[in-house]
Symmetry: C2
Subunit: 340 residues, 2 copies
């Protein structure tokens, strides 16, 4: 069943050199003669040698594995982020161990513990909560870490995040100009920095642009589709319905959209809708969706670059990427006069 295991000794024996020399050749150490190099390489490929990463990592205390912790790969934002980061890492010779926290702090910690045990070269995380024990353990061990998309208050590591505030202000201003005064907001969970920040931005902008500050207009969701649907149901059940809805991420926007559509409400005329995050199919909807967009691709690549900087002992500055409003038909028409 299990084939023969080829070790570096087998390679060395076939090449007629010592394991030490074989190791030097195979790990690119310059102190080797070209003839030894040729023989070792020939022997390795002849035997189909695959170095044992465990043994290598154990001795050299270095690995080429980075841990990437996201909250849910089914969220296209994180799928794209994971893809971008993974491709960027690969191009630098690093492979990615993907952890899915499932928006759960417990699962997040489970993966962080795994990352520690695997002695990963670094961690890129979209963290939750406010500094779980496992997250602190990662940092205490000095494992190079960067945050992506989200941060944790009081933990000072380099990060790449989106400035949600500008996009949200643009969105609120846009709605206010269209004549909306009651705008529902489906927020992310308060255990995430993005959930908190976007809510704060929305509240501030609503105040600044003279929208209703009725607390019932805010529904706290969990960044997943079902809570978007729940949020929409909540907003529809209010005695005074909002005329526009802003959702703090795209899965919740999809959930809300689904509920609104099922209730026979026409997006763009009966109700305006704006999503945070742009997806490639949002323009294809009946009423193409107005969104607050940001560049996931750049975010992923930047996170890898920051991590490499940290690994190399530098102390890179955090990066904040812009967000901007893209107006489409879902906010195309002014609100109907309130029948009330």
């Amino acid at each position: 069943m299990t084939g023969p295991v080829i070790t570096i000794k087998d390679v060395a024996a076939l090449a007629g050199v010592s394991p030490a020399t074989a190791s030097r050749v195979l790990s690119g150490n310059p102190a080797t003669s070209s003839e030894a190099m040729a023989k070792v390489i020939a022997a390795a490929s002849k035997l189909g040698y695959h170095p044992n990463a465990q043994a290598r990592a154990l001795r050299s205390t270095r690995t080429n594995v980075v841990g990437l912790l996201v909250s849910d790969v089914r969220n296209p934002f994180f799928a794209n982020l994971a893809h971008a980061a993974e491709q960027a890492a690969l191009s630098k010779g690093l492979v990615t161990l993907l952890g899915n926290a499932n928006e759960s702090i417990e699962q997040q910690d489970r993966y962080l513990d795994t990352f520690i045990s695997q002695r990963v070269a670094g961690v890129i995380a979209a963290p939750q909560g406010d500094g779980s024990p496992s997250l602190r353990a990662v940092l205490e061990r000095g494992i190079p870490t960067v945050f992506v998309d989200r941060t944790v208050d009081g933990i000072d590591v380099p990060s790449v995040t989106t400035n949600s505030d500008s996009g949200i202000r643009q969105a609120v201003e846009h709605l206010a100009r269209q004549g909306h005064s009651r705008v529902g907001y489906i927020a992310g969970p308060e255990t995430t920095s993005t959930g908190r920040e976007r809510l704060r931005s929305f509240a501030q902008a609503a105040h600044d642009f003279g929208l209703s500050e009725d607390p019932a207009l805010t529904f706290i969701g969990d960044f997943q589709p079902a809570s978007g649907a729940a949020g929409a149901r909540h907003l529809l059940a209010l005695p005074q319905r909002p005329t526009a809805v802003l959702a703090a991420d795209s899965p919740m926007a999809v959930g809300a959209l689904s509920t609104l559509t099922r209730e026979g409400i026409r997006i763009g005329s009966d109700m305006a809708l704006i999503a945070f995050d742009d997806l490639e199919w949002f323009p294809l909807l009946d009423a193409p969706l107005t969104v607050i967009a940001h560049d996931v691709e750049v975010m992923g690549r930047t996170a890898v670059q920051l991590l490499l900087d940290v690994i190399d002992g530098r102390r890179p500055e955090s990066v904040v990427l812009p967000s901007e409003l893209i107006v489409r038909a879902s906010t195309g028409t002014p609100p109907r006069r309130q029948v009330s």
Copy 2:
């Protein structure tokens, strides 16, 4: 910078036992006294001990890491599959190393080599091509392997796949009944088993139900959005346009949808459209999309179960899951009479 590294010796010393005993306690070996157990556990948690997975794997030649190779996490089908498999694996105590082949055989091999070097406990792969060297190396080493979604001709490993044929026949029959006779097909690449099988099913069904067998109606894409758009452009440029289009996966369907919409073609009335794979937002489109659906969740869980069987030395039967047509408005109306 780097914190102190806690080894099992430190734990043993604090607990007042030998490293051997500490190891037995920490790895659940029953041959330990309850007092030793208590002391070791107390010491380990006091020191914040995280076992070195490398050392453990090196000695015991077992790991709790499984490699999951998909072609593109940005494809929601694979994102959902990865999520399902990862959650199922996690519940069995396994963590997942995710590889993204990006529909490229070269990247696929790169990850497979990494899996070998990492000495993963098993591999779940959606393979490409026909048995690349790295794939053969995985199998020759006796690494437990299962295929998911796709297979490779001539390589006999347990797999969990979808019976696309039934769904495609239903789709073709449905279109034929609606009066369509020229149906365009945007196929997957011939380097994948799903690409080949679905094309074969479509051709056979087109023949059986009396549709045009004009080869120009088939466009070979690569399962990615851009090729769906290219396929749509190709079909629109034909002297005799088709009245319906079937796309072999959802990203290509989205690409096609995007092009068709931009060209001012109304889905459901000017042109029927069917996608393979159902996404949660497909019902939300202007013309909700008719799809051939299958259960990704079950596929992911089943793949993990098969892999565990193989790891335990059993020889499980491959599983074939059903697919079925879900009719929505995108194929709602019969084709317009050909103006030609």
